[in-house]
């Protein structure tokens, strides 16, 4: 699946987007974040406090319990500060 990162999530990980294949036991957005956290220091820094990270699945806001489907595009980012 395709992952997109924005703002300090992108900066800490050092990538704007990537293609990943999580293990079969990663079923939800929250589990995906937990799995990403273990991928390296940048990921650990980006997801040190998973509660503050927001997610969108296919450009719609999604809660951590949202189930992932093949081909989903998942964006992970900090709380928005527009306006």
């Amino acid at each position: 699946m395709k992952l997109l990162y924005f703002a300090w999530v992108r900066q800490r990980i050092g990538l704007a987007e990537e293609e990943v294949t999580p293990p079969a036991n990663v079923v939800t957005v929250g589990e995906l974040v937990e799995w990403l956290r273990g991928r390296g220091p940048g990921y650990a820094a980006a997801f040190a406090n998973p509660a503050v990270v927001k997610a969108a699945v296919n450009q719609e806001f999604a809660h951590p319990d949202r189930r992932l489907a093949p081909g989903d595009e998942i964006a992970l980012f900090p709380p928005m500060t527009g306006g």
Partner: protein, 160 residues
């Protein structure tokens, strides 16, 4: 109408275009957001706005549709810029046109409150000590929540 763009805009021209040919409009309320030269007591030399192309336009369109459903609006406009801006630069412009002022004022405020916490934009402020991402403010969430908790204002100006 929604516009997400790097380019600057002219407020007078935008209002003129919004109301052109709409003689039923009795008032236009607008909000213009600018880059401030100070943040938390420290000078800001530049601000970069990052956004999520595609989702940004969708979210802004949803917010605009929500305003249209709550108030009798004849026209509305949201312009939001992205990229690197300097203090004094225009960032965002919201305009709401209606037959009467209550709907225009209230929906304009609603649009600004919503877009601050729902549109996927992030601000990076640059100063003497480097660059810092702007933290989301709880007061912005509360400003949005107010419209969810109590829609009596909206009901008051809705046509019967």
């Amino acid at each position: 109408m929604i516009r997400v763009q790097a380019e600057d805009f002219d407020v007078g021209e935008e209002i003129g275009r919004l109301t052109s040919g709409r003689t039923n409009v009795g008032g236009v309320a607008t909000f213009l957001g600018l880059v401030r030269d100070m943040a938390k007591g420290k000078p800001v030399t530049a601000m970069t706005l990052e956004h999520f192309p595609g989702m940004t336009e969708k979210e802004l369109a949803k917010i605009e549709a929500e305003a249209q459903s709550r108030w009798p609006l004849d026209a509305s406009l949201i312009i939001h810029r992205y990229g690197r801006l300097a203090p004094g630069d225009r960032i965002v412009f919201v305009a709401a046109a209606s037959a009467h002022r209550e709907a225009a004022f209230e929906s304009c405020m609603f649009l600004v409150d919503y877009l601050k916490t729902r549109a996927p934009f992030w601000k990076l402020e640059e100063g003497a000590a480097g660059a810092d991402w702007v933290e989301a403010r709880e007061s912005d969430d509360l400003a949005r929540a107010r419209w969810q908790a109590d829609s009596s204002l909206a009901k008051r100006v809705r046509p019967a």
